[in-house]
Amino acid sequence: MSAPTKSPELVVDGFPPRRPRWVQLATSADHKDLGRILIAGALGFLFMAVVELLLMRLQLAVPENTFMPPVTFNRMLSLYGATAIFLFALPLALGFFYYVAPLQIGARGTALPRLGQLGAWLFIGGAAVLYATFLFTPPEVGVNPLPPLSGLAYTANNGVDAWLAACGLATLGFVLIAVDLVATLRRLRAPGMAWRRLPVFSWAAAISAWLTIAIGAVMLAAITMLMIDRNFEGIFFAGDAGGSPLLWQHLSWIFYTGAYMLILIFALGAIAEIMPALARKPLFNRNAVIGSLVAIAVLGTLAWMQNMYTAPIGLGWMYFAMVMSLALIVPFGLVLFNLIATLTSGAVRMRAPLLFAAGAIVAIVIGLVSEMSHAMVAAGWRLQHTTDSTAATHFALVGGAVFGGFAALHWWFPKMTGRTMGETLARFSFWTMAIGILLAFVPLFLAGGGKDQVIDAYEFFGGNGLDAYNLIATIGAFVLAAGIFMTLANAILSREGGQPAGHDAWGADSLEWFALSPPEPHNFDLPPDVRSARPMRDIRAAITHRSAREEQPDRDRQPVV
């Protein structure tokens, strides 16, 4: 198809040469490519977060350890916090939403693809800024950089500025992706895909997108103010000049508390897809689950002052936070009740996604029932700022983002790659992680709740009965890390070497399983026609019905449209 010679009007140049795959990926505005970038980036930073956690746990293995100097520990702590939240948990959740939700609603793409592309690359830019600090000074003021410590007067190096730039870029990216998700979910649903028929995971995407826009704006404001304080002589957080250090605490805790809820909404949304499909049952009561997820987003974020019980705020505000926090018992309880009721009346196939989903629920429950005591004001005075809160937060968030994220990964991996992840390695990984999380964090409950070991400290002192707890926690962290690395390896190996999965890998009811695996760039040849909340089941029934009529000649493979 080269060498034009005779009649020019018949010349065919052929298809333009394909660009190299990495150029294709780096310039793509397709939600599936960007979703894969977000998910792969997030899993890469999960690896980094685990390494940083292990280094900190090594320092805390024995009392008065001198494995690393205090400033290095504080740097690991800051990098760990920023990596785990901004570079792992949030992009993982948003990546799955961004990949899956447009497919689930039968859209051929997103509404604002270039905005989403900018968002994904801002996240990569933020990550690059954070890890470039190894070239100068990593941030060293903790998971939440509270002023005045993070102010210029007390930390006069570039680490905090880099933290602000990195988290600011990533947060801005998340907000842009969320805007695209909101626009897509509002405007590009397939004919018949009413909100009442939207899959639970797409509902979770909509809720999380709105939540990201709300809390992301708050965090961006806080980050901008601290940047002004540090670089342009601002006084937003200067207590002696008319500002207030408490302002940062309020703004940042609104973001962190909302992000906590977002991660749990993501995990529960994914689990609410996995459990019904692998139990061959529709969700016990869809509306109650969706309503509960909305309530979790609203009530959970309004409970931000739960993290400020020791701060000089009025007791009334603490009671307000406690009311919001304890009210969460109802929506979380209802989601769990409906998931369990779905399993109880179903026929359970114990595949890897369900295993991780069950592990996620157990870990989230342990984390949340422990957080409950932190919300009860006087008990919170004792438990907060101890390793008890480390343990509770990690049970809930490792449960949500790692166990829940891995459940989602095993579930949608066949759709993304056309191949299933290795089941045996998945089982090994799961049980190692399950033992690891218990060993790593149950001792911290005992050390914090029982013996008041304080949070974030680079050493603890011998003779206080803390030695055994910390040693076990360190061993447990290594076991947990081994389990996590097994799944990361499994994902890498299965991309090329997994069992071919087919297009409809699990027999689930939502529309992403109607597309090819991996989906074509335009997702669907024709927009599917949705007649119920279980469109894929309708399609399967229609295909069966049509195949049964033998006189019917073969036609297009999309028979119901």
Partner: protein
């Protein structure tokens, strides 16, 4: 751990209530999940049963959870209010004029606690208070946020620059109680500890007098050195 102040007594009770509530909800949720997962395995030939849910059962489950949450809320408020009650000075305590609490100005700074007593005496790291006496710490910070935390005596409380935050407690038993700052405040944060020595009122009076005299002596000596030109 035996409680050593009235407030901690209440906090400990509330902690047990929280623990019991956590066990009840945790066992119910995890137990229900494991039961459901084990019961109907497809490989053992279980078939999905058509069970539909009306709003009735959701309202009942939600209502039960709501009652549980309200009960926890009421208990929390009751015990929090009790923990905040100002504990009156007992007969064995230091008797002040008009029954005022013994007020000690407490300053957090990187990475020390400074305690200033009513008679101008002050001490670092070590706080000496009389037993069975209502003590009020006026907590401030000169630099970054610190959290004062002696878990056997009082609730954790932040010292924030630009604000005064109050801690009121009464120690019921003589002895030494250790504490550690609980908000990351920089490099030497882990070493920012404190010890509260609870002594008899007489010993307390003696301590603050001696401390005041020693500080005065030291300051006089410094003034003399400066006057003599031995230090610039």
């Amino acid at each position: 751990m035996a409680p050593h102040s009235p407030a901690i007594d209440q906090i400990d009770t509330l902690l047990w209530i929280g623990f019991a509530a956590a066990v009840i909800l945790g066992v119910a949720a995890i137990g229900g999940l494991l039961y459901a997962l084990g019961r109907n395995r497809a490989e053992r030939g279980a078939e999905p049963r058509q069970v539909t849910s009306g709003p009735g059962i959701q309202l009942r489950v939600g209502g039960a959870l709501g009652i549980f949450a309200v009960a926890l809320l009421v208990l929390s408020i009751v015990f929090t209010d009790r923990a905040r009650e100002a504990p009156a000075t007992g007969p064995a305590g230091l008797q002040t004029a008009h029954g005022e609490p013994l007020t000690i100005e407490t300053t957090g700074q990187q990475w020390l606690w400074r305690y200033q007593y009513p008679n101008e005496a002050f001490s670092y790291y070590r706080l000496v208070v009389p037993v069975d006496t209502e003590v009020r710490l006026n907590l401030v910070s000169t630099d970054v946020v610190h959290t004062w935390d002696v878990p056997d005596l009082a609730a954790k409380t932040d010292a924030v620059p630009g604000k005064t935050h109050e801690i009121v407690f009464r120690a019921d038993e003589e002895g030494t109680y250790f504490g550690q700052a609980a908000t990351l405040s920089g490099q030497a944060y882990a070493a920012m500890r404190t010890a509260v020595e609870v002594v008899s009122p007489a010993e307390y009076e003696a301590f603050v007098e001696t401390q005041k005299e020693e500080i005065q002596t030291a300051q006089d000596r410094v003034v003399k050195l400066i006057e003599n030109g031995e230090v610039p």
